[in-house]
Symmetry: C2
Subunit: 437 residues, 2 copies
């Protein structure tokens, strides 16, 4: 394996010989063998070890072991202790996910602060095969079958082509000691079952399994890349950025040969789970919604509107006190002035009968049941009807501010004034309010 | 299962109740249970059974069993005997492939001649899972992981969502007899090993395995469709049809983010195996070739030329005898006439000194080492150099005819005459030859 490793370095990673490397070592056979191989290949490397504190004394013994290994190999070593449980709980993620995030975050920190060129990890061919089968067991899309890559940004996996058997045989042969790897503790049962009960049968059926499997994953990865290229190609025609999020062009989507598959690709990172509901939005009534954990997709006339979930903004209110003439708010700037007469009108400006106003004026969002008396019309109208008549999408409705005097709506900001506060006689005190974003 | 089957008929295949159906029955538990279910659902069906004669007395006993089943169910039955071994040998395919071709060919024949609307087969969920794992063992691209579909043209698989367990349990419960299925004999060992040693472990790890797996395959199938949509989208820009086959635009290919993956998709049906050689053609010297069993890919200046393998056409020769004035050949029409003087010239016409010609004239293809004396030039030249100077691609060279007098080349048809046969004096007998495709 030493020779094969050196050949691989020469052919695939010649740059590693001139690089400053950080080697992730758990204490398991894979990373310990990789450390020995790096030493033999005279690479310039330091060792990093995470103590995830998930197995008490055992975790500490792992740490001891790695410290000792570094001393024997005469290389620099970095150790970091993590409260993995707490991190997982705080971030509502699995222990395994927490360990991975903590690990890569720390490695990346070390790499940039101490100017390492690359991080090396000891993933091998069986890791990919086991993950493939885990995803077969759990159910997965194409992404779950493509496997870890030998090079991914600054992370390099130089023993990915080798099997666990080869690595363990090398360790036995050279009397290299190691400790059981605790890094994938949370799916250990699943992985062990696959390692011991499934993979040997597959290898019996095809002794060249792992070589063929590398090709299989390379093929699958090619296919995944082509899917992504396709999405990239049609993206500008389907998706447009808006101030509320993204709009998806319904007509274009419907004309595609595989509409649902494209929608899945476009929306898969937004946490949706009810995919049939998502697909049915294409033919739903305007206003129909589907929620994910973090987002929502809204059927509008010609587009599906993707926005973040309605936040707490509905409850936000701002006040305009009597006498203020310039009011700077996060949403924009209101300027108020008493004027002699109504001059030019504009959508972002309103003229009010000041005597009728009750200060402080309140700026708030629309609530179900709100009514107003539209300027220039007789009688009252529901705000929701006014919105619909003007074909406002839900995000537009939600982002519209109402200027209120007590419970009465004075102005649908930038859209329509209310009759009750209109100037009806030249003798009235005129308050002009202008809103600028 | 009877109720689930009827519900599935109602929701997914309501049209089957009004259709005339041909049910493929091997005698195995799957097809026998399907036959019973079809009877219970009062479907209008006949039974078709293939005797592949692969297991002597056993095969005949299967046939007997199906005849008996049809009698008990009171449905029409068709039996056909095949010499599967001979067919496999004749067509150089596996026994399994031969059985499949024979089966579907015969079914399709029955369907069209006897006006069946659909063919029903008894594939079930475990078939797809087993095939998935077989392809994992053997190595495969995305196509190998997408599985058989419930509906594929005129073939419908109405028990695809059911597991083998459910089907066997139904047979036990209703005391339905069956015979072991011999249809997948050639990979029986592999399939049985997977069925008995792998799938039970996977099901232990996830009791809902088969449900999740149906989703997985549906996802993978979506991805495959998107890959095909992508190839369809860029196809007109990469590929153009020519008289020799197809040209692939090298510049466009190189600009793609995943050139190799696209080349693989475009060329995968042409039997290439040395894919690295195929990819390296992009940057190879013009004239470099890669062969598949049936085709070849040729590096030309700006395109890769895909043509069928050079056939035996190189050895084809045609003769033009003395005195013939119109010669119709598969390659086009030659007209010969003696003329008084050289009138207008055109590429498809040549004026020769008749006295110098030795009849019959011979039409043949170019051979390495051929030389001629180009009209209007001094001295001789290799035909290959003439071709290269004129930037002819290999298929163009191969499709160019040489008109010869004995061993001498008289005319590179439609391209260049030879000095030795040129008219040098008005007193010479002028033979005008015109070639029209």
């Amino acid at each position: 394996m030493e020779k094969a490793f050196k050949n691989l370095l020469k052919s695939e990673f010649p740059f590693l010989c001139q690089s400053k490397l950080l080697l992730a070592v758990s204490g398991g056979v894979d990373s310990v063998v990789l450390a020995h191989l790096c030493k033999l290949a005279k690479l310039n490397f330091s060792i990093a070890h995470c103590n995830f504190n998930l197995r008490d004394a055992e975790s500490d013994a792992d740490e001891e072991f790695v410290l000792d290994l570094a001393e024997r190999l005469e290389v620099e070593v970095f150790i970091e202790n993590f409260d993995t449980m707490a991190y997982a709980e705080d971030n509502k993620i699995s222990i395994q996910m927490a360990a991975r995030e903590l690990r890569y975050h720390w490695f990346e920190e070390l790499r940039t602060s101490l100017k390492f060129d690359y991080i090396l990890t000891a993933h091998h061919a069986n890791d990919n095969l086991e993950t493939f089968i885990i995803n077969l067991v759990r159910g997965s899309g194409l992404e779950g079958f493509t496997g870890i890559k030998a090079v991914n940004n600054s992370v390099i996996r130089p023993i990915l082509p080798f099997s666990r058997k080869e690595i363990e045989a090398y360790a036995e042969e050279h009397k290299i000691k190691w400790r059981e790897d605790s890094s994938n503790a949370s799916n250990k049962y699943l992985r062990n079952k696959i390692r011991h009960d499934i993979v040997p049968v597959l290898e019996e059926l095809n002794p060249q399994l792992l070589d063929g499997f590398a090709n299989t994953q390379s093929h699958l990865n090619d296919s995944l890349n082509l899917v992504e290229d396709y999405i990239g190609l049609i993206y500008p025609e389907v998706v447009s950025k808006t101030m509320y999020g993204y709009n998806l062009n319904i007509n274009f989507l419907k004309k595609l040969p595989n509409t649902k598959a494209v929608m899945y690709q476009l929306l898969k990172t937004f946490g949706f789970t009810e995919w049939e509901d998502v697909y049915q939005l294409l033919d739903a009534q305007p206003g129909k919604l589907v929620y994910s954990e973090s987002h929502r997709l809204i059927k509008d006339r010609d587009v599906l509107i993707l926005t973040e979930k309605e936040s707490e903004q509905k409850k936000v209110e701002y006040l305009i006190k009597e006498g203020e003439d310039i009011v700077m708010l996060p949403i924009g700037r209101f300027s108020l002035s008493e004027v002699e007469e109504i001059s030019k009108t504009a959508p972002n400006c309103v003229y009010l009968n000041k005597e009728k106003l009750t200060f402080p004026l309140v700026l708030r969002k629309w609530n179900t049941g709100d009514i107003f008396f539209p300027f220039g019309m007789k009688g009252k109208k529901k705000i929701s009807d006014f919105f619909n008549d003007n074909k406002l999408s839900l995000p537009e409705k939600e982002s519209t501010w109402l200027l209120c005097s007590g419970k009465d709506i004075v102005w649908i900001v930038n859209r329509r004034a209310d009759n009750r506060f209109a100037i009806t006689d030249p003798s009235q005190k005129i308050l002009k309010i202008t809103f600028t974003v």
